[in-house]
């Protein structure tokens, strides 16, 4: 078995993950954010998708929905503990990496501009809480 670190050297027993912790409406803990205000994670046929709503000058901007890749906390675990996904806006790309920690979703965002506007590519890390019914 190939490995790049000892923690990779485990026997696998299938790759279907329990994703129950991820679906729902996630709200940014910072009401003054200039980035993502809320996210809606949906499950269909065991697959997840994420719709993002970000803060714009004149209200929320719907980024639309994209498919999500789920990650466990260990290579032997079958419980989803985080995810990655990408949005391509043409003028820029946004890569999202989420990790659930103590009930909070810690979201790292990587924004890379493609429009020669000389804007610096940037990184943001924010916290989201699951909205209760």
């Amino acid at each position: 078995m190939q490995f790049a670190q000892l923690s990779d050297r485990v026997d696998g027993n299938g790759s279907v993950l329990d994703v129950h912790a991820l679906p729902g409406v996630w709200i940014n803990s910072n009401p003054n954010t200039t980035g993502i205000a809320r996210m809606v994670m949906s499950e269909s046929d065991g697959k997840l998708s994420l719709q993002v709503f970000a803060v714009g000058p004149e209200g929320l901007i719907d980024w639309g929905s994209t498919s999500v890749k789920v990650f466990a906390g260990l290579p032997t675990s079958k419980v989803g503990a985080g995810f990655t996904c990408n949005f391509d806006f043409g003028f820029a790309e946004a890569e999202l990496q989420g990790m659930i920690m103590k009930g909070l979703l810690v979201l790292a965002q990587f924004h890379r501009f493609k429009d020669n506007s000389n804007r610096a590519d940037f990184f943001v890390r924010e916290y989201f809480a699951l909205e209760h019914d």
Binding site: A4, L17, A54, P57, L74, P75, T76, F91, F110
Partner: protein, 141 residues
């Protein structure tokens, strides 16, 4: 900053993104770093060097008897407009390709501690779950 620029969030229009200082303050990341957890089965050590306008990241995974050197990667800095102790920080993001696995990582410094977050994707049909990990490092030189 002109609102004629493309944007999908107000942050895309932050004038600080045109400030050359937005991606400065890189010295905090440079050097050799060791995992605070000596028993880690993940990344044991990391070395970050400046290479022109890029950064060279060298990672050493924990092995049975010796460290496992990962193929070095080069990447550009990402500005981080949040402030830490009154100073803007930066982050690095990179992807390591092993064939059987891909590791997407990001690196940042928080109060002198280097934090590496990994998202590992297995590509070898071994049945291992894709997994994430977060580890902490102190500077050794």
């Amino acid at each position: 900053m002109s609102s004629e620029l493309g944007f999908k969030q107000t942050g895309h229009l932050d004038s600080a993104l045109l400030d050359p200082a937005a991606a400065s303050n890189v010295e905090k990341l440079l050097g050799r770093w060791a995992n605070t957890n000596r028993e880690t089965g993940g990344i044991a050590e990391c070395e970050i060097q400046r290479d022109g306008d890029q950064f060279r990241i060298e990672i050493f995974g924990a092995g049975e008897n010796e460290l496992i050197p990962w193929p070095p990667v080069r990447t550009k800095a990402l500005a981080n407009l949040e402030e830490e102790a009154g100073q803007r920080t930066i982050a690095l993001a990179a992807t390591f390709e092993f064939g059987f696995m891909k590791s997407e990582i990001y690196i940042r410094v928080n109060k002198g501690v280097l934090v590496i977050v990994l998202y590992n994707t297995f590509q070898d049909d071994s049945g291992r779950s894709n997994y994430l990990n977060r580890e902490f490092f102190y500077r050794t030189k």
